[in-house]
Symmetry: C2
Subunit: 273 residues, 2 copies
């Protein structure tokens, strides 16, 4: 089956055009796509080379490629627009109406997202990441003082990946504490966590899904048995309810979905990255 060629072109990382392009393309089913990323396209020779690559693709397939581009330099943008492609340039689409709305011209500066132009915010994201790494899985719990949030849940509910994502993307200081058999048997919140009750956020999961995840990690162990998973999940949910800890069922949730749900529920704004 013919594959449609999709080009992602940017004078910077290309993260924005790729994110946008993938998102709108998920609205077409049954089509095959061939992706070509051309980041850091910031000079005349690079623009000419990109245009040649697009045109060669068109000659090859006889079908217009689709280009998602974000190119601030108008001269370079025009070179891409002259190619044999359907070109969506984000700045061309969005800037004129935004200039109207804000009654101000845009600055045509090289892509500023995803860089270090705001070094304070960038520094705090890296600091948050180091914090997540250094207080993962219940270690260094003295760090909890500094945490914005402490994820709690049984083993393999996505606590660590969520902490890392919250740190890297949003600069949130996130720790996590694994609820083990010992914690669960007492049916009460471990003393360790009590001073930080307001920071706790629970993750839970459907026991069958938990069993499949654990089975991959430690096949045929007690840890991975359905009975054990059922017991742990039931107990932890009782504990969340009893202690009034907000929680989320992550059975069908990706790290991105868990993280954006938490950000929204907490009323936290994503940093401008």
């Amino acid at each position: 089956m013919e594959k449609y060629s999709i080009f992602f072109i940017s004078d910077h990382t290309g993260i924005t055009v790729e994110t946008l392009g993938y998102s709108v393309l998920t609205q077409f089913s049954g089509l095959n796509f061939e992706f070509h990323a051309i980041p850091f396209m910031n000079s005349l020779p690079k623009a000419e080379a990109a245009r040649a690559e697009i045109d060669a693709d068109f000659s090859n397939k006889g079908v217009s490629p689709v280009v998602f581009s974000s190119v601030t330099n108008v001269e370079l943008r025009m070179i891409i627009k002259q190619s044999n492609a359907v070109v969506f340039d984000l700045f061309e689409i969005f800037l004129p109406p935004l200039e109207n709305a804000f009654e101000q011209s845009s600055i045509h500066a090289l892509g500023k997202s995803h860089g270090m132009s705001d070094s304070v915010k960038y520094g705090s994201r890296i600091e948050a990441l180091n914090f997540a790494l250094n207080s993962d899985d219940g270690v260094n719990f003295k760090n909890y003082n500094r945490a914005d949030i402490i994820l709690v849940g049984v083993s393999r509910t996505g606590k660590t990946p969520t902490c890392l994502y919250l740190a890297l993307q949003f600069g949130i200081f996130a720790s996590n504490y694994p609820m083990t058999d010992g914690d669960l048997e007492t049916f009460e919140l471990t003393k360790l966590l009590r001073p930080y009750r307001d920071k706790l956020y629970g993750l839970t999961i459907e026991p069958g899904q938990l069993q499949r995840i654990r089975q991959e990690r430690k096949p045929d162990s007690v840890y991975a048995s359905l009975q054990q998973c059922q017991k742990e999940v039931r107990t932890v949910v009782e504990l969340f309810n009893q202690e009034n800890i907000p929680y989320l069922d992550v059975t069908n949730f990706s790290v991105e979905e868990i993280s954006t749900t938490i950000m929204y529920e907490k009323g936290w704004q994503r940093g401008q990255i």
Copy 2:
């Protein structure tokens, strides 16, 4: 100074609209923005509530808010469009011309990006993340067999954050090995790394910048002295050149910029996430 209200509305995570919105807004300087994120807006009552919030903001400020939205359900989208705002709906902007290009209707399915609809790809991103965590900083070097890339460089050049980003965003299996004084004194590649020469990728940094980063971590140590930083950076660059290891100067590069540069140089396509 008046702040312009910006709303990010989505029936799913909102990651795409936020990424796009922040990117185009960086093209306006000297303006202040107030951000409002409304993810998971997937029902009539939620849409009415969002519209009411937008209209209240307009009444308050007397200035039209700007809305970036991605809402697949046309009825819900129309409710947002009826608000007193400048509304950019991504699906409305991009889908009609894409339907022309592909000669096919779009499916109007709920936002599919950033979720788990492709569970194999999602699973491999999480697996890559666990791999990065378990083989960070030169531990478990037996894992190097499985690595797609091994970042090498002196301490505090961004190896760990880059590995985690490559894993989480792109599902790349990334390890790293820190070049310490011991490695650098011999002026040759440690035996450990020789079998994996083709996977090595160097990170280097301007010594003054390295000194500032280390100074924050271990103030007034030999480790953080300018002399030590200069020596380490000079030696490691000589080693990269001698051993023909490709490398990148990350002095002014964010984790996103380092990662997308590596992806491009390696010819790796970003997974569709």
